[in-house]
Symmetry: D3
Subunit: 120 residues, 6 copies
């Protein structure tokens, strides 16, 4: 795995943490958003892991790289296989066309990154 890619992923992780700290103090709206997030991604009639796959598909279509980093990690952590993540990316490609194949390039790197870290 490319050094620049690893650094990019790790910068995303640090940036999220730093912004979290600031926004949790300064923004009631952000705090409220985190509650909403937690309610969204907990087990329900649909297991958390399928919800994470939905979020991956969405992230592919809107090309949100930090979203991909987060939801792929969460998907793997909650028991999704690499093959299932790939198939959620495929749904993103069907719904997003060429630009979604671009997003999928970063998704593959995130998959590789967490495989090496052996998340789970």
């Amino acid at each position: 795995m490319d050094q620049t890619d690893r650094e990019k992923i790790e910068k995303i992780i640090r940036d999220r943490k730093k912004a979290d700290e600031i926004l949790l103090i300064k923004s009631k709206v952000y705090k409220s958003f985190l509650e909403l997030e937690q309610k969204t991604f907990s087990d329900g009639n649909l297991k958390k892991r399928y919800k994470e796959l939905i979020a991956i598909g969405i992230s592919i279509v809107i090309n949100c790289e930090p979203c991909l980093e987060w939801h792929i990690k969460e998907a793997l952590r909650s028991g999704t296989s690499e093959e299932q993540v790939l198939e959620s990316i495929e749904v993103g490609i069907e719904m997003g066309g060429g630009p979604a194949t671009v997003s999928s390039r970063f998704a593959l790197k995130v998959l590789e990154y967490y495989k090496q870290k052996s998340v789970r």
Copy 2:
């Protein structure tokens, strides 16, 4: 269920059929797209029904009403419960904010429409 809403849904269905007929004759690209679509939504490491839920989440975020009509029907047909569709809409709301709550209004109508038709 509102008469205008039912008519809107049924117009979406007719419009898809009509365009399909024209494009399948006139466009090799469209034909190729339908093959891609079929490959995407068939059972794999992920069951078709979970892929449909991913497509619903995406459709909520990008506000594609005819996509919602199609993928909600396909989700129900492949064994998804109404509650699971609702939870995929919730992921869409988390990823799309206020405008996604607007898309979810139409999704609810589609759910109601197919409940009355008792799809499955």
Copy 3:
């Protein structure tokens, strides 16, 4: 004002109400979203009316018509002038180009609708 336009606006209002009733019962995520919404649009360092203008500019760029109906009404209700709404639409046009001029057509209708209703 065109009869079809008035009906469209009033359908948007009814649809929001209906979906609200269903989602408030069935979806914890939606309920959480409404809390977030309330926190967002209350007076702070920035008055509610300027926040509504921001939401109008966003709605123009993403072309969310029910968002326009809501936020224009709220802007007028909280003391914004018609001219100020128009200038928030202009920011939307600068940030959204040609398609934003399309969104602005619906915004003008909403302005006319609430002028006749004399909201405030």
Copy 4:
């Protein structure tokens, strides 16, 4: 051609005209936008008709129906064939995936509408 479809297209045309009248009086930004538009779509190193095809491809991807009505008419008026419009739609499908096939349904109706009117 479906009566509702014809009416929808003609409403788009009327709505543009009406908004134009209002915005040309009330908005300097809008007036400035129309100048920008005229500069964009005049013959240059690229003929106007190819620029219209670019605008069609964009409109397919962002699903702007009034944009499609306008740019398809302008493309036909400046000498583009129906087949060329279709191929610009195909580029839109490649770049926009499933939701772009939805936009193409409306584009086909616009093509039919102007064929019957024998624009040119």
Copy 5:
């Protein structure tokens, strides 16, 4: 403040300047756009600073980082407080969901950058 972040912001500034020089010579459309921009963001019924806040909200939702750099600077320069910028970001989060929280990370860095530079 992170060195990489500062460099990223300063690259954005240089890139804008460089492209401006080229496009002002080569593109009448671009020149026309700059006129439109100036008309949009001048004081009117709405002060420039509120217009900049609208542009910030839009930039959060569409995740345009160079737009954030520009409009946050302009907002601060025209007398907006840091707290007001934050509340325009909150409107962006309400209208953009999770991906908007990602955009807000960069917005925070820009705020910090211009605080250190003490713009105004």
Copy 6:
């Protein structure tokens, strides 16, 4: 030409290649997409070079940098002049407003990169 810019462009090229290799083995959907792509961009009633210009306009509006790198190269390779690429960017600006002027900055760099490489 800036060293960072050149490296960014070359990273995009390497990333596409690497992802292609992985996805062609692992994803039938991706393979199917490449067939669709080939059908889309071959000469038809519209020459390939005009299709590439359409793709450039779309890429400007959705701000897809790797798409810009690819389609600008393909446009130049199939006989488009630099001036024509610029005019397709202008259509993107008309359809995308301010954020499209941001995308055009990267497009200019790609143009410069391939001029130095004397693609064709």
